[in-house]
């Protein structure tokens, strides 16, 4: 029951149908505490997933200046991969991964046509052919065995994460010096391509993954599912891990430095490609985790990712595409607004959520001097 209601509220479902149906007779009276508590819980759960997406978008934009529209595709790929693994099927994602690797390798070869050294060549073979090949082998061997849910989740993240690397190599590395606008246009292209590939590899059927854990706990009058606890836990863990990465490691600091001063970073020897690869790999990993988390609470189609990604984008914009904490808090806000608007005005849910962006943009454009790198 709870999970059905939750599903009805989550991203791509017809907004709040079940929920408003269930509570319709009470709507005219007043928003009683129980409904409010339920909506808040639901908003926070979805908001936590949007927070992960928003953080990935901020990370990518600040380091690479790419407004990464296809972040939601990583989510959809992750959720669909997990759902297929649930059915003890070999997910088509691994063929996609190998194809990406081969294309990236061919591009590397083209780049090496004027001569190269053995190390560069072997690294390219290892990264673009051996790595996806190994993941293909592991998945093909393990998937039919019917793995425990944590293993399936980890395997999903393992399959999706290297895609970030290949997407960077294929689409963005050749454009490293392009303007923000060109990078944005490339993002639209990558989004359409990834969505189309999703249709080819996963089909038009929607899938829902099994929850990572089935238990439900009753806290006061609220029913809290183990799945939503997983979502909170994973979101907090990723935020803490990102914090430690950026504050404590030299590579993390190099990424921050690139975001602060691109030329300065080059002058100390930080390669643009290194930061690009790192940022995209992290973003893909975060996307995969988001997919694993959201897959069991809503039915995911090949094109669901876009809408989920856009909600993370709203949060990232509120954070000025630069602030991690504001983005995370804004994402929870987006989740809450979405949840309450699906109760009060379900048909306008998306309009209200995306409408949030307008006052923020007006405020940002009034309060900040316009600065564009070009």
């Amino acid at each position: 029951m709870t999970s059905n209601m939750k599903a009805s509220l989550s991203a791509n479902q017809e907004p709040g149908q079940n929920l408003s149906g269930i509570f319709r007779n009470r709507r005219n009276s007043l928003l009683d505490a129980m409904i409010a508590a339920f909506l808040i819980q639901d908003g926070i759960t979805n908001g936590a997933v949007y927070a992960l997406l928003g953080l990935a978008l901020v990370l990518l934009f600040s380091v690479t200046r790419v407004i990464f529209i296809p972040q939601g595709e990583f989510v959809a790929y992750g959720a669909l991969t997990l759902a297929l693994l649930d059915g003890a099927k070999v997910p088509a994602t691994i063929s996609l991964l190998v194809s990406f690797g081969v294309i990236a390798f061919l591009l590397d070869l083209w780049g090496m046509r004027r001569g190269t050294d053995a190390r560069t060549f072997l690294r390219s073979v290892g990264l673009n052919l051996v790595l996806p090949g190994a993941i293909y082998g592991i998945t093909a061997a393990l998937a039919p065995l019917g793995l425990p849910s944590v293993a399936k989740a980890l395997l999903t993240v393992l399959i999706i994460t290297p895609m970030g690397l290949y997407i960077y190599r294929i689409a963005y590395r050749p454009l490293a010096d392009a303007s923000v606008l060109v990078l944005l246009i490339a993002s639209v292209g990558v989004h359409l391509a990834m969505m189309g590939l999703g249709l080819v590899f996963f089909g038009a059927e929607g899938l829902r993954a099994e929850p990572l854990a089935d238990e439900n706990y009753t806290v006061g009058m609220l029913m809290v599912s183990a799945q939503s606890l997983c979502i909170y836990g994973a979101t907090i863990a990723i935020i803490v891990a990102l914090y430690l990465f950026f504050e404590r490691t030299l590579l993390g600091k190099a990424l921050r430095a690139t975001a602060v001063n691109r030329l300065g970073a080059r002058l100390v020897g930080v390669r643009t490609h290194l930061t690009g690869v790192t940022a995209f790999t992290l973003a893909a990993a975060i996307g995969a985790v988001s997919g694993v988390l959201i897959g069991p609470i809503t039915t995911i189609y090949y094109d669901t990712g876009f809408l989920i990604g856009l909600k993370g984008f709203v949060a990232a914009i509120i954070g000025g595409l630069g602030s991690f904490p504001i983005t995370a808090i804004a994402a929870i806000g987006v989740g809450l607004v979405e949840s309450f608007s699906s109760f009060f005005a379900s048909s306008y849910k998306e309009v209200i959520v995306f409408g949030l962006i307008i006052p923020v943009l007006i405020w940002l454009s009034l309060s900040h001097a316009f600065h564009e790198e070009e």
Partner: protein, 241 residues
């Protein structure tokens, strides 16, 4: 028998740089010996900064750049790894990061052990920065920022330091401090290619000097001779020099 290595650490021949269709350097040649300070002086817009940027690989150039007798690596990062390091005119610090992080990042391409060694040396050279470790780089004064830029550069353990107008915008007393530090650095074996508008101060600490005008070398020779050159004196050192 080993072949004798070229005695020059850096050898530029016939360097051309264009921005779009406008050529700003018209075939500059320059050589510097290991352990020396060479200064490039000239008016605003003469192409001095462009020359340093070309040596660092930030702007593409035509001509040959030999470093340690071999063609210099192609990428900026490769050049940093090989021991070249540019302190640009605008410093290009990481303003929203701490002094400590800025310094640490200077050693990005060096091992943790090397970083630890150099860090100790850098902090003893710049005690002011050691006091302000936790402060954000953007909140430092102009002189401190220049020190931080130098400190960050030293963390990469350079063999050839390219300094672009290190005295720009600083109070006269701080200019003296900074140039003293530059002269000190040479004693550690670092070679320095120094671009300065403050010609008198630069010639005082340099071994060799090049006068660049409108993208060409107009005059070159030992710094002590340039410092008393009548033509140079008139236009760059002030008539009373």
């Amino acid at each position: 028998m080993r072949e004798t290595v070229s005695p020059n650490l850096l050898e530029l021949s016939n360097i051309h740089v264009s921005y779009g269709r406008a050529e700003v350097l018209h075939g500059i040649s320059l050589a510097m010996k290991p352990g020396s300070i060479v200064t490039v002086i000239g008016a605003n817009g003469a192409g001095k900064s462009t020359l340093l940027n070309a040596v660092m690989g930030i702007v593409p150039s035509k001509g040959t750049i030999l470093y340690d007798g071999a063609p210099v690596p192609r990428s900026v990062e490769g050049r940093v790894a090989a021991g070249l390091c540019l302190v640009p005119e605008k410093r290009e610090l990481f303003a929203t990061m701490s002094v400590e992080d800025n310094i640490e990042l200077g050693g990005f391409l060096r091992s943790a052990t090397e970083r630890a060694e150099t860090r100790a040396d850098v902090y003893s050279r710049f005690p002011r920065l050691a006091e302000r470790r936790k402060q954000l780089a953007g909140t430092l004064s102009g002189g401190e920022r220049q020190m931080l830029a130098l400190a960050r550069a030293l963390m990469s353990r350079p063999r050839l330091l390219l300094l672009d107008e290190p005295s720009l915008g600083l109070a006269p007393k701080i200019v003296v401090d900074i140039l003293n530090i530059v002269a000190e650095l040479r004693k550690t074996g670092v070679s320095i290619l120094l671009v300065e508008q403050n010609a008198r101060a630069a010639l005082e600490i340099a071994d060799e000097g090049y006068l660049v005008e409108l993208g060409d070398v107009k005059l070159s020779g030992p710094a002590s001779e340039l410092a008393v050159d009548p033509a140079l004196m008139e236009s760059y050192l002030g008539a009373h020099g």
